[in-house]
Symmetry: C2
C-alpha cells in the first residue's frame, strides 16, 4: 500500500570483519560475469573457491607479517583463499583454466573499517593493500590501489549460503573504467 512506512527501515545488520570471514569459510561455487565496457564483451567464468581461516600464530601468518613489517597483535582473523577458474570468452570460445591462492591479513582500525593485506593481488601479481569499510547493511566495501589500476569491490551475503561480489577496475591515472564484474557465489554443500 503506498504511503506505508517500510518495515525494513529499522533493520540493523551488525557485521565485523571476524563475523564476515567466519561466515565466508568453506567451499563456494562461483559464477562470474566480466563486462568489458569498451568492447561490450561478456566473459562467463565458472570457478571453485575455497576459503579457510588461519591461526595468527601459524608459521604462514607470522612469516608473512615479519617479512612485511606487520605487528602480529594488529592482525584479526587471517585467512586463505584458493581458487580454480575456468573462463569462457564468448567471442573466441577458448577455454582457460587457472588456479592460485592468496593469504589475506585483516588489520581493523575500528569495528567497521580497516585494511586487508593480500599476499597476491587479483589484478597484478604483487602484494596488495585494500582499505575496507562495512556499509550498514553488512556489505564489505573494498578499495585497492595497484601500480596501474584501482579496483573497488563489494561483497555481501544474500543468505548464509549465497554471497554476491561486484568489482570495478579503473586506471590509476585517468580513473577510466576498464571493466566491471559480478559474481554469484553458492556454498558447496556435501550431502552424505
Amino acid at each position: 500500500m503506498p504511503g506505508q512506512k517500510p518495515r525494513w527501515s529499522s533493520r540493523k545488520i551488525i557485521m565485523t570483519i571476524e563475523e564476515f570471514i567466519s561466515k565466508s569459510v568453506g567451499e563456494w561455487i562461483s559464477m562470474r560475469s566480466g563486462h568489458s565496457l569498451a568492447f561490450k564483451e561478456f566473459e562467463n567464468i565458472h570457478s571453485t573457491i575455497h576459503i579457510s581461516s588461519l591461526k595468527i600464530d601459524s608459521l604462514e601468518v607470522l612469516g608473512f607479517a615479519n617479512e612485511n613489517g606487520i605487528a602480529p597483535n594488529t592482525i584479526v582473523s587471517p585467512f586463505k583463499i584458493s581458487w580454480k577458474t575456468e573462463s569462457d570468452w564468448d567471442i573466441s570460445s577458448k577455454n582457460e583454466t587457472e588456479s592460485s591462492s592468496s593469504l589475506l591479513i585483516p588489520i581493523p582500525f575500528s569495528s567497521t573499517e580497516g585494511e586487508i593485506i593480500r599476499s597476491q593481488g587479483y589484478t597484478e601479481k604483487i602484494i596488495a593493500i585494500s582499505k575496507y569499510i562495512f556499509l550498514p547493511d553488512g556489505t564489505l566495501s573494498l578499495s585497492t590501489e595497484y601500480d596501474q589500476a584501482k579496483t573497488e569491490e563489494r561483497i555481501w551475503f544474500v543468505s548464509n549460503n549465497v554471497r554476491c561480489r561486484t568489482s570495478v577496475v579503473k586506471t590509476s591515472k585517468s580513473l577510466a573504467i576498464l571493466q566491471t564484474s559480478y559474481a554469484s557465489e553458492i556454498r558447496k554443500i556435501t550431502i552424505i
Copy 2:
C-alpha cells in the same frame, strides 16, 4: 602502507531520490548478466535504456496517481524508463528481443527512504511497489514483493556515466534464491 588510516573513511556521499533520478536521466547502453543458480547458466543481455523525467502535473502522472489513490503532493521526481533488450542464452543460442516501458512514481518518507510505485514490474506484469533506502555511499537499495517472488536490487553510480545494478530474485514463500543478475550501464554519448 599497513596501519595508515584510510582517507575515504571521512568521505560523505549525500544522495536524495531527486538527485539520483536527475543523474539517471538519459540514454544508457546496458550489459546485463543473469545467473541461474540452480542450473549454473549464464544469460548475457545487451539492451538500451532510456530514462526521462516527467512533470508531476502531466496527464500521465496525474492519471496514474488518480487510478491508484496516490495524492499528487506526495510525489517527487516521477520518471519513465523505456528499454529494448536483446538476450543471448549461452545454451540454446536463441535470440529474443523485447521492448517495454514503465512509469515510476517516487514517494519519499524521508531524505533517504520511501517507496517507488511502478506501472509495470520487471518480474511480473502487475503494478509493483518497491521500498527504497539509500546507503551512506549513495547506493539505492530497492526491495519489491510480487505475488510469487521478492526482488532485491541495488543501483549505484561508479562515475557520472557508468551505473551498476544488481538484483536477487527469491521465491516469496521459501525465500529460495532463484537467480541473480548484474548490469553495467554506460551512458550513450552522442558526438556531433
